[in-house]
């Protein structure tokens, strides 16, 4: 009798849960990543130059082996609101790269990169990228931080509007690259060649765990942990995707002040004009 009741209760609870969560159960099984603290969050947010420089180092030494970032130019490294390289430094970074070009006679050559060049792709084309990575081309990183997100669900997305939460992308990226597990949990069958990570929709990702502790040397004394690495590279990717964020938020504040004062003046003008009629 007792066990029958228990089964009934379990079935009821299960069907209720199935009704409440049909989307998450069927579609992607995406675990919401933890919300981290970002220097560029909120109305006065700004990129942290040192963090962007560290993130760039990780991109250059790790990510760039497989991922392109071909909408970003070397000169962007010296743009205001970015990693804060000097023009000479950006030029020096560019010179480390080999760029495919043509000489005056039309012969294919490789020359040193210039600030105006875009970051070269690690593979000649998408097919080559696919072939070298087990059938899945690593996505381009130029817009990646804005191209990844997760659903906060109702009613949270309403609050996000007021709290200005726009860091879904970097939160997700940081969680993804630091969320790899050596062994998938029991009962989870990992497809051939895939790797288990907590926050990827469906958990099985083609990318192997990209970051190991101490893999990239930091010159500024920041901890060389996977956690720190993943935050730094996520911040860098956010900058790569939204290079004018600093200017946007700075101008936004000025616009807001202007509009609030303007609205106040309009309000009192309106009151004065209408006082005779009311």
């Amino acid at each position: 009798m007792k066990s029958k009741r228990l089964i009934f209760a379990l079935v009821l609870a299960g069907s209720l849960a199935a009704m409440a969560l049909p989307a998450s159960a069927q579609l992607t099984e995406q675990v919401p990543p933890p919300r981290l603290k970002w220097s560029f969050a909120g109305p006065f947010g700004k990129y942290d130059e040192a963090q962007l420089q560290r993130g760039f180092k990780i991109y250059k030494e790790v990510c760039a082996n497989c991922h392109s970032m071909d909408m970003v130019s070397f000169r962007n490294l010296a743009d205001p609101g970015g990693p804060g390289f000097s023009e000479a430094q950006a030029e020096a970074v560019a010179a480390e790269y080999k760029i495919k070009d043509l000489d005056d006679l039309g012969n294919p050559i490789e020359r040193a990169g210039r600030p105006a060049d875009h970051f070269p792709a690690p593979f000649a084309n998408e097919l080559a990228a696919k072939a070298a990575n087990g059938g899945t081309a690593p996505p381009d990183m130029s817009t990646l931080a804005k191209a990844r997100s997760y659903s906060s669900g109702f009613p949270w997305f309403v609050f996000d509007m007021f709290t200005q939460y726009q860091e879904q992308g970097p939160d997700y990226i940081a969680a993804l690259v630091s969320g790899f597990k050596d062994q998938p949990p029991k009962g989870f069958t990992l497809p051939e060649g895939a790797h288990y990570t907590e926050y990827f929709p469906g958990h099985a990702i083609a990318m192997p765990p990209p970051l190991q502790p101490g893999q990239v040397t930091y010159d500024d004394g920041s901890p060389q942990t996977v956690e720190q690495y993943s935050k730094d590279v996520a911040a860098f990717l956010m900058w790569a995707a939204e290079p004018h964020l600093d200017a946007r938020k700075r101008i936004g504040f000025q616009v807001m002040i202007f509009l609030l004062v303007f609205a106040g003046l309009m309000y009192f003008t309106k009151k004065k004009v209408w006082s005779a009629v009311h």
Binding site: P43, M71, T143, A147, Q166, H244, R248, G252, A263, T269
Partner: protein, 408 residues
């Protein structure tokens, strides 16, 4: 645009011009001396806000078009070029993308206001129908603009929406091929969408002129729904309406700026930052928020053809509203039953919007069907019957009586 102008320019150049082209008198009678009901509330300021938003969209759009490349291989990159390399390109693009959303927000408020106060009723039927045409044009323009970004959601939205026409029996597939300019969404599709996206806003501007013209022939409705009877019932457009519209327009700009500067991607879908890829279908294909209620209606009906008919019917039915509502009383203020059904309609519309983001399964389908049924029942059953059975409250004798009575 209404009646003879009393405009008497004192400047001699203007007098000379006025004799040859009475444009000063036109502006004066339309936007200065034009009598507006003295009891208009803030819901009446959205017409001005909509004109302003149309201006914002056209100006930002023209500059964006100078930097955009309508080609499948270059469109996404050119948009990113605007975001990165064009001076204040990010601002133009965020203004334009969020401006579309604000435009729709304003038009929905404007439409619900018209419904609540019975602004569609005789003699304003043509004014209302012109509004429905404007809304349809906006939807077409907004959709095509979204496709131009040529991200994943652009591409797949274009595929899904154009495919709706394949439901037409017999000629459906031929029509879809004709719309695409090929056998799939491709470069010809993008090119024609770009061309039409540039053309339609000027068509909208033209219909707006007709809309305002029709408005100035009949005069504005007002919260009491009774016509102005004497000069005591109205105030001149300038300064009264001008300053009131201006105040709310600035408030609306604060909301607009909040989105543009602080959460510019809140209303967009992250997949649209992935370049279009015909070989990869996104996990979910959702339209922009302003189409969601209609998307939910489409999906709530299991038959594709009937779903498409319901989708277009749900918009087309608005044009018949002046005749479906049989009540002689305009304003919901004096229609206690209508008021309740109206708010249920608002809930159904917003509910459908929410369901448009949900997968079509389980409880969501049932809810979507209930709301869809109510959506149509509101127009086809509730409104015709209410006019017969509803006991309305007594109307005030005049607008000024309602204003001063409320104050006393």
């Amino acid at each position: 645009m209404s009646g003879h102008s009393t405009y008497q320019p004192t400047n001699r150049v203007l007098q000379w011009l006025e004799k040859r082209l009475p444009i000063g008198g036109l502006v004066h009678s339309s936007f200065i001396a034009y009598p507006t009901p003295r009891n208009l509330n803030y819901w009446w300021t959205f017409g001005g806000i909509l004109s302003f938003m149309l201006g914002v969209q056209i100006i930002t759009g023209i500059v964006l078009a100078m930097h955009y490349t309508p080609h499948v291989d270059m469109a996404f990159r050119s948009v990113e070029g605007i975001m990165r390399d064009v001076n204040f390109g990010w601002l133009l693009r965020y203004l334009h993308a969020n401006g579309a959303a604000m435009f729709f927000l304003a038009v929905y408020i404007h439409m619900f206001r018209g419904m609540y106060y019975g602004s569609y009723k005789e003699p304003r039927e043509v004014l209302w129908i012109l509004g429905v045409i404007l809304y349809l044009l906006m939807m077409a323009t907004g959709f095509m603009g979204y496709v131009l970004v040529w991200g994943q959601m652009s591409f797949w939205a274009a595929t899904v929406i154009t495919n709706l026409f394949s439901a037409i029996p017999g000629v459906g597939d031929a029509i879809v091929t004709w719309l695409w300019g090929g056998y799939a969404v491709g470069n010809p599709t993008l090119n024609r969408f770009y061309s039409l996206h540039y053309l339609l806003p000027f068509v909208i501007a033209g219909v707006v002129v007709l809309h305002v013209w029709a408005l100035h022939v009949t005069g504005q409705n007002n919260p009491t729904g009774i016509e102005p009877k004497s000069d005591k019932d109205t105030v001149p457009f300038t300064p009264y309406a001008t300053v009131k519209d201006g105040f709310l327009m600035v408030c609306f700009c604060i909301l607009f700026a909040w989105f543009v500067f602080y959460i510019p991607n809140f209303l967009g879908h992250s997949d649209n930052y992935i370049p279009a890829n015909p070989a990869v279908t996104p996990a979910e294909i959702v339209p922009e928020w302003y189409y969601l209620p209609f998307y939910a209606i489409l999906r709530s009906i299991p038959n594709k053809l009937l779903g498409v008919i319901a989708l277009f019917g749900s918009i087309g039915i608005l044009a018949f509203l002046p005749w479906l509502d049989t009540s002689k009383v305009r304003s919901a203020r004096y229609r206690p039953l209508f008021r309740q059904f109206f708010w249920l309609f608002v809930i159904a519309a917003i509910g459908l919007g929410w369901l448009g983001t949900k997968p079509p399964e389980g409880i969501y389908v049932i809810l979507a069907r209930i709301f869809t049924f109510y959506y149509f029942a509101f127009f086809l059953i509730v409104l015709p019957l209410l006019g017969i059975f509803e006991k309305t409250k007594p109307l005030p004798n005049s607008i000024s009586e309602s204003v001063l009575g409320a104050k006393a």
